[in-house]
Symmetry: C2
Subunit: 230 residues, 2 copies
Amino acid sequence: MLSFTEENYLKALVQLTIFEEGVTEVGVNRLAEYLGVKPATVSDMVRKLKKKALVNYERYGKISLTEEGRFLGMMVIRRHRLWETFLQQKLDFSWDEVHELAEDLEHIHSKKLINRLDAFLDHPEFDPHGDAIPNREGEILIPFRRTLNDGESGKRYKIIAVKDNSSEFLKYLDKLGIAINDEATIINKESFDELITIRFNGKERVLSPKVTDYLFVICASCLKAKKCDC
Amino acid sequence: MLSFTEENYLKALVQLTIFEEGVTEVGVNRLAEYLGVKPATVSDMVRKLKKKALVNYERYGKISLTEEGRFLGMMVIRRHRLWETFLQQKLDFSWDEVHELAEDLEHIHSKKLINRLDAFLDHPEFDPHGDAIPNREGEILIPFRRTLNDGESGKRYKIIAVKDNSSEFLKYLDKLGIAINDEATIINKESFDELITIRFNGKERVLSPKVTDYLFVICASCLKAKKCDC
DNA sequence: GAATTTTGTTAGGCTAATCTAACTTTATAT
DNA sequence: ATATAAAGTTAGATTAGCCTAACAAAATTC
């Protein structure tokens, strides 16, 4: 059984290597910075995780997850995101309160508990931040999100998350009438000034990169197909 | 903020001093045995808890809880019992699976979380074992349970818990048609052979002390009044 | 009331996860 | 291609919670 701390290292490695596109390994310093500990501490812990066959690592080299390490890290994230969903949907916590509580709840290791919770919530696909919830095999079948900025003209996207949690940003979205789970079609992308025009709920809005770069989306057709072609 | 371990010491002290009738203090050896650690360990930890003003203690003396210690211990028990109730009522866990999971869940320290959970469960008074759930002030207003054996003839009692979790015992109760939350009236107590006759749900049953001594009850009238006169 | 048993304490060690400080290896840049 | 900077390692210390072994105090018993 893994300790609380070991699980946090695996979770961090998933975030830094798997959820970060194009990156499959990470250095000691980066991991230390991410976890808020000193490189010396990471150096020790990585040796320990290697002995448990959870990471690939050689002295002075880069760190990456093994199959087993990836699976266990994904399970921590699955638990985290399911608890966040529970807190929001059933206990009426707001969007920005759930993360901290889930940091503790994610370390409760009962497969049965988490699968029951999943069923109780009706097998949700996204947590309150719009992040996809890994399934019980530790996989995310849904295409990874991108920013609205990276979308293609003419395509329809579902807004599933925001990159910036500040109430300032959230209030501005409110003012624009944009909410998580809305679907919007990009009707124009102007490369010179980077303004993007979208249509959603019958409204049309011109958005600056200050907004589009902070909205995570998934293309609606891929979401339906559970497979990404774009 | 208290550690996981410190909380377990306070919880154990509540069980051993407050929930054990007539006892207000406990020795180092007893506490060590209860917690499954060595007396030397308890000796150290008690000194630490004293410095935090959570227990009363003098070298070679007995241990008791201060007001603050009692309150915090009660909060751990409140969280434990609310999570047990959640697991049984919402996630369909059985009666005997919930304890172990709640051992972990009880250490999540959010007042807001636990009060929301309480509301979500509609402010339950008993956990799945029939134990009363302390309120947010750390008090149990409901009279303490007794065994059916100690009941009085003619009085009506609610069966709220069993002392013996073995599936053998539970199956026998099933066979008798007795379930937790049933109410039963004692219609005869025979002191010679210790057999007790009860009436419940229109049925009558003669029970041996092997059963009555392992059924916890609360007198129905006191339960309504939330105050015990008997 | 002295001997024995029970109860509790102290000293010294262990492990996990952290740190600092000094050092080594690898990468970068002129 | 060597000097410097960046990245990573190692040694030694700390803290919490536990242990064992030896000892001390209190309670019990004859």
